[in-house]
Structures are given as structure tokens and as C-alpha cells.
């Protein structure tokens, strides 16, 4: 049987040959575009090389947009439909269902990590802080958009209250909804943004949409709005904000649940 064994080296060179042949045939519609598939998984050399462009996009957009350039805001007349729910729309987690049954009276927002004063805020405490209301367009990475009016507490006020330590670089959001299941247990949604977006004037912890309390399908009791990025950067069902200095302890190390599954960490485009 030995003579039928194909050495790993041969397989790699064959794959490289296929890729090269496909490159050479660019401009001609190939009979199958699976030639690149094996080169594109997370961590592969080609994939990592192409991902460098994401860093360039991030730096270019940060340079152009600066800290405080505002996302466009719209008028009441532009609100033509309920906010379209996406992703998890009814968490099946016992913790969440317990909190929901009590109308979130026992829910708290924890603020922890690299802060001087860890916080534990109730809904009332959050809603008694100064609020911001904005009519903005939600852009999903899939391509659709939906305009809604969001009301919430500016994240910068919460960060100021907790006093962020100088070594903190990112805000990590911990959520109550299970987005995926793995051998090591349920994976609850998580994500990060940098402190520039965290302190952006339109970045709010929203508890209301279109003049009503945030419904379950849109992330009750609290979700994030990061208006200069795509929807996957705005976690729902929030219960903890953790200030971190890197992604080492954030899921798979790429800065968020969807990032660990191949999306760009910076969702500005």
C-alpha cells in the first residue's frame, strides 16, 4: 500500500500548483472556485497576509475620522419600521430567562477589570444618569440597513465613574446570550472596542429604542451602540463591561466572538 501514500510535501506543492494555475487563469471564469479554499482558513499564511489590509483600513479610517466625527443622524420621518432583530433574538439561557421573568429587577451591569472603582449598576441607576437619544442607521455586515431611535447612557460617563486605569486599551463586553456551543461548554457572546470608540459621543449603552424600552429581540435590558461600526460590534444582552489591555484573555484571541470566526476586529467598513 505504501506506494499509494502521498507525502505531505507533495500535497502542499500540488495545492500551491493549483493556486498558481488559478492565479494564471485570473480573468477567465474558473470551472470551480474551490482552488483557494484551503489557503484561506484562519491562521494560514495567505489569510494572515491578506488580513494586513484590515489594519491599514483601521488606521486610515481612524486618521480620517478622528475621535469625534459623528455618524449621520436622521429624522423621525426616517423611522419607517421596527428595528430589525438579528443574531440571537430570544436567549435560551436560564440566567437570562430568570432575569427576564423578574423584569430585570435583579440585573446589574458590572464594570470591572482595569478600573480604579469597579461598579455594579442597576437599571434605575443607569437610567438616572444623563442620557443621549439619537436616530441612527444600523448597518449589518450582511449588507442591510435599518434606521431607529436609540436612547441610552453614554459609555464615557460609565467609564469616567469607574475611572479607567492608564494601561487599559479596550472595553470588553460580556453578554448573557449563548451564541455557540463547543466541547468546553456554551459560548456566550463577547466583543471588544477600543477606547476611542468607547468614548465616542454616540457610543451609548442603550435601554430604549424608538421611544420604548428595549425589547428582548433587540437586546434587553441593555445593548451597545457603536455608530461608526457594523452591527456585530454592538453586543446585546449586556451584563458586564471589562477593561482589558489586550485580547489574550478574550475568547480565541482575536477580540470577539465573530472575530474568532473570521470577521475583522474593526467593523468600520
Amino acid at each position: 500500500m505504501a506506494k499509494f501514500e502521498i507525502s505531505p510535501n507533495f500535497q502542499i506543492s500540488r495545492r500551491k500548483f493549483l493556486t498558481a494555475a488559478s492565479l494564471g487563469a485570473s480573468g477567465i471564469m474558473l470551472s470551480g472556485c474551490d482552488a483557494f479554499d484551503s489557503q484561506l482558513s484562519i491562521g494560514s499564511g495567505l489569510r494572515s497576509f491578506l488580513e494586513n489590509a484590515n489594519g491599514l483600513t483601521y488606521r486610515a479610517q481612524r486618521l480620517l475620522a478622528g475621535r469625534d466625527a459623528l455618524a449621520p443622524e436622521f429624522t423621525e420621518a426616517d423611522i419607517r419600521q421596527p428595528q430589525r432583530p438579528n443574531g440571537v433574538t430570544a436567549p435560551d439561557d436560564d440566567t437570562y430567562k430568570g432575569l427576564l421573568a423578574n423584569n430585570f429587577a435583579d440585573w446589574r451591569l458590572e464594570v470591572s477589570g482595569l478600573v480604579e472603582k469597579p461598579l455594579s449598576l442597576s437599571r434605575e441607576q443607569l437610567q438616572n444618569m444623563p442620557s443621549r437619544t439619537q436616530i441612527t442607521r444600523h448597518d449589518c455586515v450582511e449588507g442591510w440597513s435599518c434606521i431607529a431611535k436609540w436612547t441610552g447612557t453614554p459609555l464615557s460617563l460609565v467609564l469616567d465613574q469607574a475611572v479607567v486605569k492608564p494601561q487599559a486599551r479596550y472595553v470588553m463586553f460580556h453578554c448573557l446570550d449563548t451564541i455557540d456551543r463547543s466541547l468546553s461548554g456554551d459560548i456566550k457572546y463577547y466583543g471588544t472596542i477600543d477606547l476611542i470608540d468607547a468614548r465616542h459621543p454616540q457610543t451609548i449603552l442603550a435601554y430604549g429604542v424608538n421611544g420604548k424600552p428595549l425589547p428582548v429581540e433587540n437586546g434587553a435590558p441593555l445593548r451597545v451602540r457603536v455608530e461608526r461600526q457594523l452591527g456585530y460590534k454592538m453586543p446585546k444582552y449586556l451584563y458586564k463591561i471589562e477593561l482589558v489591555d489586550g485580547f489574550a484573555n478574550v475568547g480565541g484571541g482575536r477580540g470577539g466572538y465573530w472575530e474568532d470566526n473570521g470577521y475583522d476586529w474593526y467593523g468600520g467598513i
Partner: protein, 293 residues
């Protein structure tokens, strides 16, 4: 130096059938290099773009996508019928059965619901994240190359000499159309009117419009250039324009290839690879088509 057309008598093994035809240096290295970088970039941008489109195979008009109302003008989808699952494509409400290609496709017995088929997307399987990585990588390459080409072509005179429209172009347009329709091509140093319109249209209209509508879809760029979407009619209209320009570029590509095949692929390919182009012999054997019509 490349702006000056050099010519040489064709001799040696490459000698033409007619001793009157000449090889001229037609395409500068900047034109040739940028041409092939665009070819590769557009190939990957098209196939990754179709993958991105598959995540939401609908196009809308306006600022947002209608869920509580209808502003969908284009849709690819799949539905269950008595004859099993079928793929369909709807354009302005007109439905077409596109099973096997759009909406429902795959190996026999293993079909799945997907907008564009796997042979037209990179990766072949559904993977929005990876397609975005590829798309934005080549977006940088494409845009940079366009800027490099613009600067080089302004300096070496390519735009002024070869692409800028002249009054004469208008006069010869009707005959150009007739000649193209009859697949009768003149191999000259200058582009004919239809070529100028096609290349100029791609370089000065379609590619810039593609870049602008691409930027208009970016929520971060919207904070820098908020007027862009207002100008274009809203983010979802920008997305629809982005898709339409893709169709026009694919149309350009098909005609481009057909014209190269019809006009003589060896000569045309040589000029875009080496720069050297064999022109027609002077008009003595071509008296019926006077240059000054």
C-alpha cells in the same frame, strides 16, 4: 521616453506577412503593469464580492432596507414548490426561474440555497468574513493602482494622447460602430472612438464610482463624508449602484475579450504584455476606408 511612439521595420523571424506593416511601441510599462494588476484585482474582487452579496442577496433603493415596507428592486432566493426547491431571481418584481445557477445550486443531489453559485464565489463555501478580507485587500490594491496609473498617464501623456476625446472622434463614431459590427478592425497606434469610450468609461467613471459607492457603505467613512450617501441617494442605493457597476464591468470584460479575439489575440496580447503592436500597412490595400471620412 515612452510617450514617443517608436517604430522599427519588422524583420527577422517575427516578420509580418506584408512587408509594409510595422511594429510600434504602443503601451508604456505603466499601462501594461497597471492593466494586469487590475485584471487580477478585479477577478478577486468580483468573486469575493459575489460571496459578500450572498449574505444578503437583495438590493434596495433608499437609506435603509425595507422590512416593514417594500423597497426591494432585486432579489435572488429559493422557495419550495411542488416540483421541489427552486431558485428564483426577481428584478423589479418580475420573477425568473434560475434554478441551478441563481438561488438554488450545487452538485446534483447536493444543491443548497445560495445567491450566486459556488463556482462564482471565493471561498466556494459560504464564508462572509473571508470574502471581506479578500475584498478589502484588493480594494486597496485596485485603488492604489488607479492612482498610480492616473499620475503616470498624466506625466507620460497617455491620457492626453490616447484617451482624451477629440472632435474628430465624434465624426468617426458612426463608421466605428459599423466597422465593429462587421468585425472589421483597423490596427493603428490610436484608439478608435469606441475604444476611447470603453476605456475612458471604465477608468474615469466605473472604477471611481465603484470606489465611491464602496466607501459610502462604510459606517466609519459616513462620519467623514456624510454628504456621500445623500448625494448617492442613501446607503442602500449606494449598494445597488455598487452592484450595478459590477455588472457593467463584467459586461466590459466580456466585450473586451471578444474584441481581442476578433481583432487578433496574438497582436493584442503582445501589445499589453511587451508594449509592441503591429499596425496595419499603409492605406494602399485599404482604399475603401479613407482615414479622413
Amino acid at each position: 521616453m515612452e510617450s514617443v511612439a517608436r517604430s522599427q521595420s519588422a524583420t527577422g523571424p517575427d516578420a509580418p506577412v506584408s512587408s509594409d506593416s510595422t511594429l510600434i511601441y504602443r503601451q508604456s510599462r505603466w499601462t501594461r503593469l497597471t492593466h494586469w494588476i487590475w485584471a487580477i484585482s478585479l477577478f478577486f474582487m468580483l468573486l469575493s464580492g459575489l460571496q459578500i452579496f450572498n449574505a444578503r442577496p437583495q438590493l434596495y433603493i433608499g437609506k435603509q432596507s425595507g422590512f416593514g415596507y417594500n423597497n426591494t428592486i432585486f432579489e435572488i432566493g429559493a422557495e419550495n414548490t411542488n416540483a421541489g426547491p427552486r431558485g428564483y431571481t426577481a428584478i423589479f418584481g418580475h420573477r425568473f426561474d434560475t434554478t441551478g445557477v441563481l438561488g438554488w445550486s450545487g452538485p446534483p443531489g447536493n444543491e443548497t440555497a445560495r445567491g450566486f453559485p459556488s463556482w462564482a464565489t471565493i471561498p466556494s463555501y459560504y464564508d462572509l468574513g473571508t470574502a471581506r478580507v479578500i475584498h478589502f485587500f484588493f480594494a486597496w490594491i485596485l485603488t492604489t493602482t488607479l492612482l498610480v496609473w492616473l499620475v503616470a498617464s498624466l506625466i507620460n501623456g497617455h491620457i492626453r494622447r490616447d484617451l482624451a476625446p477629440r472632435l474628430d472622434d465624434l465624426k468617426r463614431l458612426p463608421r466605428d460602430i459599423v466597422d465593429h459590427a462587421r468585425l472589421k478592425f483597423h490596427h493603428t497606434r490610436e484608439y478608435n472612438t469606441l475604444q476611447k469610450m470603453a476605456y475612458g468609461g471604465v477608468l474615469f467613471v466605473l472604477l471611481p464610482l465603484m470606489i465611491i459607492t464602496g466607501l459610502a457603505m462604510s459606517p466609519s467613512m459616513n462620519s467623514v463624508l456624510p454628504f456621500l450617501n445623500e448625494l448617492l441617494g442613501g446607503r442602500q442605493t449606494a449598494r445597488t449602484i455598487h452592484f450595478t457597476v459590477m455588472l457593467l464591468l463584467v459586461g466590459f470584460f466580456i466585450i473586451h475579450i471578444l474584441m481581442i479575439l476578433a481583432a487578433g489575440p496574438i497582436n493584442e496580447l503582445r501589445s499589453i504584455i511587451t508594449g509592441w503592436y503591429r499596425t496595419d500597412p499603409p492605406a494602399h490595400d485599404d482604399k475603401t476606408t479613407e482615414r479622413s471620412a
